[in-house]
Symmetry: D2
């Protein structure tokens, strides 16, 4: 089969012909119909510091997809051949304290598809059956392929009440854009979007932001002060990873508010704990992955009902062979989600 | 001033000329611009068993309104003359265990405007300043006048997460209709509305119900079973007060779901505690009044943002003098909210 | 091996010599060291209405135990031969909406050990590996054998905050007695215990109840009124299953309080929904089983730390062969927990 | 009356004869029976950077006390002459978004007794009636006088579930010591106490810490690793304010755990957000003041029941005139709480 392989410990990747994976008793083989490029894949493609320390070429990367079950292992009962599926990308131990208390998404033994084992930038992918999520048959394949990052957005926004509240989304990459739509769909009274990139801010507006702010042109705190009449926003979703933006988030949140952080700043961040966390009595939440599988249930509920429309975010469709074009778009920030079709 | 007075211990009420109320140091006099009729007012008008045991004629009834501050007591700091206001109708003690722990809405010493003291079916009403809620100046007067019952709907629906979940609204009186809109606005994946009255079910559809069921014509449990593929609904908001409907609510909720009850059945209800509550591991919540004042903040957030549009519910506008026509409409169930204009 | 078998569809049971069970790939064989008698076992022994409708003799009953792993299936990774274990008795599907959202304890496909399949009143029992809980090696075998019902008590009491709050335990059977100890250990300001049986009320006192009330001799509501200065108790744990006692629970809870019901009344209960649930704004929670496996983590935490001492509850130790004596004690209510030793 | 006055903008304070304060209609005059020295008072005494920027000498400082109502204003209804009281020290606006949503303790207009207005290091103090808390008549005066800081400890520890969980207390000043007792009383499975001062660690042991660690002698992370078998602690209460200790807290908490911060680091702290907050999926909570008045209810519940014994912490009793001796003890860290008697 065809697969995009991270072949060497350097920039780039290559399209190769490899064997179709073999499955174990508890695994499933899926024919990939659509697979989208994540920021993580760009890190691996660019061979940055993080990927140098984490991934072990050669291997197939990619983890966001939708496809059809082609073959099931002998112990599999939850899916059958022909099922239309996507997958949770965290493969967890099932035995640790976190897994046993319903927090499998923060299992310390987590292995990630396309990072720690072969992924889905290929015609076929093999996965533990337990990680599969059956899609509604009416869901378009492109939307189905981006449910995993949409799950990040849902996990972040619904980590606190947003109904009737003001919500700030800092950083309008694809997950930030989806978070705007989730906040809008779930009753936020206002959704303020912040970014430095006007292309993304236009998409932010389209996804339902009630105010968009280019933080290079306007001081975010001044804008919030004006819009919120000096009281700050109720909820901040930090998706930029930039220390300055993150600190603006801490300063714009109202007393008693919540800052939910999905982003991954590359180095420690200096935070005014006394004034911005303690005196304000705020809650800061680290968000990673998706609740397994409560978030997936919420994802299905929001998409099937039409409460959230992800189409404006899917800006490019390419053949698997055109992956280099896709990665270039991602690197330039001139796109929403790029979907590849094997 | 003109006022609708419950004069005698029998059916009906009368329009009378009475003195404008005098205010105390901590009170405010409001010029009433719009006042809407609540089901409670109909009970008092009809002089049913409950009102016979509770209210003490002669007095002015009515409690839902919007108006303008005309005069303020010497200790009042939170509002000023000319402010556009509505009011929380529960006057609480501020000293009991519930008031001190943030649950003032269930203060055991609660006195209700228009029930236990003079209300707002009049040109003027006097109220403790602490009970006033400042309205956004752009809010239409009719919408502003029905925020109190809308608060009941918001309190009920947001008493649990609804984002991405299926919600059943049992009973489509005005508060049930508003609850449909709240569930829709706050991300419910589906909103099932149940009633016996087709007029109301038409309004239910207009307010955003994804399915409407006339429980006289279809078995609610069969419908839920089909729509939810045998898994039940996640959240039930019981607003009918009918024991059969309430028990249908307990049976249609999924294991681990929530039943929030705002209705007031007239006598004890037989409930299959073992099978419908314990084995299913559900949560049942009694809902009364509005959280003081968290619910009002949510109300403002949902209305100001346009997330919820209450206009379809306001079906009739009458002069204060035409109150009998308004009560007749309410008694016949041929209306949404009826707003009176003094 | 020796086993207590429910042989026929009538009162009683018999000790028999049967084959040691064979295990599947994902199962484990455990040598039973101690097994305790549950109220459910008494129902089966007595062959009451419920057991006639549920269990299918002949089969081995019993579900509470502690033992040592004797043999593991080929796919088992979480335990090994020689491990000291007890077990969660709910065998769940792992695929339904409840299992996927972290509420496996209310899976609709639940199969219970000793009820729906062979249990542990025997020298050996076979179980899915996933259901096993590794015990601290220092835990006495008798205590380890009653962790499953202790989990019910922990699940019920910790279903809401109890620190600094007043807690009523209605019904002082073994689980009620354990609930007293949990409430005491977790910071309850007072623990009121209600029962009709003075033997049990003496144990209640020993377990840490601050007040014990024989509801036949004193009116529970009068006692609560006096002790709580008219404000009611914060938390009620209903463990009696009696409709009168349950309604006393609803009446003694304070406005905004919580009633957690673990008991299983044999028929529907008439509840004053309007006055006891809605106007009071209380929360009613149905409790079944144990959170899988958060409750087991709490159980371990409370026992290992010595915060809860279960020894006073374990009143009788018998050989497996003496099971009839054990059942007689249980039927007469003249015991706490009875532990059998194969 | 006698009062300890911060007279000048420099180190120290002086005992002076001043007028007994006059009360307003909504205020109460209290005869102070016992008043304890807080770390904040030491800052003011020492005239550090913070106090230079905040307080305005000359004024009476001190805010922790117990006393008897001597006189009440004309509008006061919640207390009467002769009542035995202590007080919440945050005087709030009652009108802002936080006050209206039940979070008055983080009101942005908060004025603190003994900081922003005259305090209780005196024979008499005048306070708004709403801030008073009636003490149980059986409560010893010394214990009653330290309820305010005890409320900080209760607020911090009960900001998350601790029953059956492992809890680390970082920093064993008086509030840290009280936090140990709260965690112990509320069912923590283990309570690990960290400090650099052996005097305090001895008190920590006495208050119920299951392990005490001098962080200068042992690496806290190594100790946690060993005691928790590599899984970290469930809850960290940060009460040291030291950036190194705070970061140890972030590193010792388990995935999905909670870090509650009451301390006030003097400058911004560098935090590894990516690895210590996001990937671990933890919750960080800023804690300030006491929930008004839910925390006071918990305080009463824990003290009245005897669940928490504060006596070991009250190490010194002095006359008001001996305040300098008290401040010296505090500066040297050779004490628990120092109580002054006017």
């Amino acid at each position: 089969m065809k697969a995009i392989v991270k072949k060497e410990r350097k920039f780039g990747a290559g399209l190769m012909e490899v064997d179709v994976p073999k499955i174990k008793d508890n695994e499933v083989l899926i024919k990939v119909k659509a697979t989208s490029i994540c920021g993580t894949d760009v890190h691996i493609y660019n061979w940055d510091e993080w990927s140098q320390s984490r991934v072990k070429p050669p291997y197939i990367f990619g983890h966001e997809f939708a496809g059809v079950v082609e073959e099931v292992g002998s112990n599999v009962t939850n899916v059958k051949i022909g099922d239309y599926v996507s997958a949770e990308t965290h493969i967890v131990c099932g035995e640790c304290s976190q897994c046993l208390s319903g927090d499998a998404h923060i299992c310390k033994q987590t292995e990630i598809i396309g990072v720690d084992r072969d992924g889905c930038f290929a015609e076929y992918v093999a996965l533990p059956a337990i990680n599969l999520w059956k899609n509604d048959t009416a869901m378009p394949i492109n939307v189905a392929s981006i449910q995993e990052p949409f799950g990040n957005a849902v996990h972040t926004v619904l980590a606190q009440d947003v109904a009737g509240k003001s919500v700030a989304i800092i950083g309008c990459g694809p997950i930030g854009l989806m978070a705007i739509a989730v906040a809008q769909a779930c009753g936020a009274s206002s959704v303020l979007a912040f970014d430095l990139n006007d292309y993304r801010l236009r998409l932010a507006k389209e996804m339902g932001a009630t105010s968009v702010v280019n933080s290079r042109e306007e001081n975010p705190l001044t804008v919030v002060d004006k819009l919120m009449h000096g009281n700050g926003v109720d909820v901040v979703c930090e998706m930029s990873g930039h220390p300055v933006a993150m600190n603006q988030g801490f300063k714009m949140v109202t007393n008693g508010g919540v800052v939910s952080i999905l982003s991954l700043p590359v180095r420690p961040v200096e935070i005014d704990v006394t004034n911005d966390i303690v005196f304000k009595g705020i809650t800061v939440q680290g968000i990673t992955g998706r609740k397994m599988y409560k978030t997936w249930q919420q994802v299905s509920g929001l998409l099937k009902s039409g409460r959230v429309n992800l189409n404006p975010i899917i800006t490019h469709h390419l053949k698997l062979e055109e992956f280099e074009k896709g990665f270039n778009l991602m690197i330039q920030g001139k796109c929403g989600k790029v979907v590849l079709h094997p």
